[in-house]
Amino acid sequence: MAKLGKTNLDSGWIAARSTEIHLDGIQLTTTHPPSLSSNSSNWIEAVVPGTVLGTLLKNKQIPDPFYGLENDAIIDIADSGRDYYTFWFFTTFKCAKSANQHVDLNFRAINYSAEVYLNGHKKILPKGMFRRHSLDITDILHPDGNNLLAVLVHPPDHPGIIPPEGGQGGDHEIGKDVAAQYVEGWDWMTPIRDRNTGIWDEVSISVTGPVKLTNPHLVSSFFDNYTRVYLHSTVELENRSARIAECSLNIQVSTELEGNMFLI
């Protein structure tokens, strides 16, 4: 039985430039899983969460753009083309769920769009830098508990071209996408060469029972000069089983005294 709750996938990731890998996501997550060991490997240790430049910097494949004029030594996506900063990210994880358990793969933010492959199954993550993605992977987990995950991350659709004179937002093309706009450079900032492409926020696996709880909303209302206060709570509940779920929903509000002492 897998432990209920969330487990972050923030170690053991490797990455490779898409133009240097001649396998597809189904092969990478079934017959040809990549590794750092094979000497012909184009794969490098990856930083997740992070961006493509963060991973290249960790592997010393680019100078640190924050020192001197080093940023000029890094090829801009406008000159290299989007494929140069389109990267594979790969990892493995264990998850041996029991009957009636459900498992989700969650990405809290990806820039800008991605294809996810898990054990030979493909799922598309739609565009947008500021949105969460949650994939129900219950039925595609590996029976032996060892799972192979590959994510192909694409840069923003409109990375733009930085005019010679620079300027705020470069040629403003990035404004066509729903993404951070500073990456084309501003009066206080040089351009970010990969436009912050990558799995830039946490990746996690969450295990639940048949009923999933999401997006709670807490609101407080005040009366009698803040002496009479109400806490209103709304949650989204999803019954992922094939039977009626008879549930009890508990809410507990506590103040932490010190250490592990709680006052309820």
Binding site: R132, G169, G209
Partner: protein, 233 residues
């Protein structure tokens, strides 16, 4: 009175919104911004148990009881903020993001946010050309008492002003913008430090987006606060 259980049946495959009966608190400790009072936080934990399975899922987060209002002050033309009915003199700063390669961590956020507290700030404005900041950013703003002004991803330069004028109708996909905005609101809305959502920097979003954001973000009638808080519920 701070622990409550509700029972409900959920049909197979159903996805529902459920509002629990409200919880009453007498004189709870209120959350105040830096320099005005204590940042009292409560730990709210919600669990769902399935009779046939046991505990099925749970969620918890720090929560602060506070009422934040803001309006344009006719005398000054500036925006006047009140927290728990008290006008607040805003000492704020602009925030783009913590690191240009998005090397974001709890440690980094705590250091950045505490630095602003030590500078005696009580507000951080997240600029529209940067990020919708992350839950860890807000967590430390909750703890250190920094109100957050969070802009959506519109700037004058890239959306309809600038030289030459660019993207007069904003991003190409307005539906995508609203999907991202709604999901971001759901991600961040329970943090007591979140004080104000703002359409963009030096620019209002295209009309349809602006109308949708105003509609989605207006306060639910149930919580329309009476002008003073003496009214009984």
């Amino acid at each position: 009175e701070h622990h409550q259980t509700s029972n409900l049946s959920i049909p197979p495959g159903a996805h529902i919104d459920y509002t629990l009966p409200q919880l009453f608190f007498y004189k709870p400790n209120l959350w105040w911004p830096n320099g005005t009072g204590k940042q009292s936080l409560y730990n709210v934990e919600i669990t769902v148990e399935d009779k046939g399975f046991g505990e099925s899922d749970s969620w918890s987060q720090h929560f602060g009881f506070r009422k934040i209002e803001s309006s344009i002050d006719n005398a000054t033309g500036g925006r006047l903020f009140k927290v728990n009915g008290q006008p607040i003199f805003i000492r704020g700063g602009n925030w783009i993001l913590s690191d240009g390669l998005l090397r974001l961590s709890k440690e980094r956020y705590e250091t950045d946010i505490k630095f602003h507290t030590d500078m005696n700030f009580n507000m951080i404005r997240c600029w529209g050309g940067g990020l919708a900041e992350r839950p860890e950013f807000y967590h430390y703003c909750d703890i250190y008492g920094l109100l957050v002004w969070q802009e959506f991803w519109i700037t004058g330069d890239c959306d309809g002003r600038g030289v030459p004028v660019s993207n007069p109708d904003g991003p190409l996909d307005h539906g995508l913008f609203l999907i991202c905005a709604r999901d971001t609101v759901k991600l961040l809305r329970n943090h007591p430090s979140l004080a104000l959502w703002v359409g963009g920097n030096e620019q209002t979003p295209p009309d349809d987006i602006n109308k949708a954001l105003k509609n989605d973000l207006k306060l639910h009638p149930l919580f329309k606060f009476p002008t003073d808080t003496s009214n009984s519920l």
